[in-house]
């Protein structure tokens, strides 16, 4: 019987692949929940630091921190790109990188230079192959990213901004909308976009220890770090969701393939039997 053995071998190998993909699917499904919890846990801090920032800027309307001032001319643009460490998550990273490339092209068209900070192995692997400056990199953030691991990379960008080597900073990440959809997003990190906080009714001032400017600086740096941390968590949740969908599709495809191959195998078997019978019948007739 020709082909029969090969087909069963193929079916078995696809079955193994299917087992792996469906296991990965289930693992990702359980991780989505956890990363969503992490994401929600950052909300109170963001809310409160926004409130403190609002109070500080209301109390010191005359003082403008460099992080809040728009520059006249944009000579160099910085990007903080949040990507995943591992693959097998569909078009998640590629869609994000496409967005970055489009933006880079646009700024280069206007004569601005570009500098990148990459978080996650996929971003550095992708962007090192194109002609662009990578100022800092961090990877292996794991399932429970820690702010400590991000501080260094963020500081590289903030220092460059302070020293006016960079005039605009974007953060790029995948926004987790729900399990079925994640959207690549490009947001301006610096200068801080204007926020309209709730009006403070009374005019008052704080007692500052040590002084207002140093405090405002610390608060703004913490705010930016919290923002980037939140983006990393959004991206993590997106990664798990995208991987779950990709693995679900792979499992379904493997099932279809197995069905088709089983059909082919049965046909081959039947053909072989028919042939054998007709040979026997033919042989008997000849005798």
């Amino acid at each position: 019987m020709a082909g029969g053995k090969e087909i069963t071998g193929k079916i078995r190998s696809i079955e193994n692949t299917k087992k792996v993909t469906s296991a990965l699917e289930m693992v990702s499904a359980s991780k989505i929940r956890k990363s969503q919890d992490l994401m929600n846990a950052t909300r109170p801090y963001t809310r409160m630091i926004r409130r403190v920032m609002g109070h500080l800027s209301k109390a010191n309307p005359e003082f403008r921190h460099p992080f809040t001032v728009r520059r006249e001319e944009t000579k160099k643009v910085g990007y903080i790109i949040v990507s995943t460490d591992r693959g097998l998550c569909g078009g998640l990273n590629i869609n994000l990188f496409k967005l970055v490339l489009a933006s880079i092209q646009e700024w280069r068209g206007q004569g601005a230079e570009v500098s990148l900070v990459t978080l996650g192995k996929k971003a550095s692997a992708f962007f090192k192959n194109i002609n662009v400056e990578i100022a800092a990199h961090a990877s292996n953030l794991g399932e429970k990213p820690q702010i400590e691991d991000l501080i260094g990379s963020i500081k590289v960008m903030l220092d460059a901004y302070r020293e006016e080597r960079i005039d605009l900073v974007y953060i790029v990440y995948n926004d987790f909308i729900n399990t079925m959809s994640q959207r690549p997003r490009l947001e301006q990190l610096l200068p801080l976009p204007e926020t309209d906080d709730e009006e403070v009714r009374d005019i008052w001032d704080y007692i500052y220890e040590p002084d207002a400017e140093a405090l405002l600086d610390t608060v703004l740096v913490r705010y930016i770090e919290a923002d980037v941390y939140h983006a990393v968590l959004e991206n993590l949740a997106s990664e798990h969701a995208a991987r779950m969908i990709a693995m679900k599709n792979a499992t379904d495809n493997a099932g279809d393939l197995i069905d088709e191959l089983t059909l082919a195998y049965n046909k081959a078997r039947q053909a072989a039997i028919t042939q054998e019978i007709s040979e026997i019948v033919g042989g008997a007739a000849a005798v």
């Binding site: 403190v52 900070v117 500052y208």
Partner: protein, 142 residues
Amino acid sequence: MKHTIQCDIVSAQEEIFSGEATMIFATGSVGELGISPRHAPLITQLKPGPVRVQRPDGDEAFFFVGGGILEVMPHVVTVLADTAVRADDLDQAAAQRAKEEAERALQDRTGEVEVAEAQARLVEAVAQLRALEQLRKQVKRR
């Protein structure tokens, strides 16, 4: 007159404490602080150290913060705690590490190896698919 004040302690990674307090102790950048209700508005940096919260029922809650910011408003005390111990030279070292990491990633020639490996696997997969297709045609012809 209310003898308690709302106290919120949060870090960027989680909410640590939220509740009423009769007194809050912390280590500010210029000295120890004790904050009771109706304290004047104040904002200060915190040094790494314990934050103690006295509850209305007499209990005391202890938290260790690695630094951060403490804000006193008329109705609420907010502690924005840092999860990590922060100092300028430590941050500088972290920035340096991130830069070196970038250089290493750039020098890494494994990128090419990865691409070559992926291409080899792609060729193999395509060959398998073609073989399957032929097999299927053969079966149909019979």
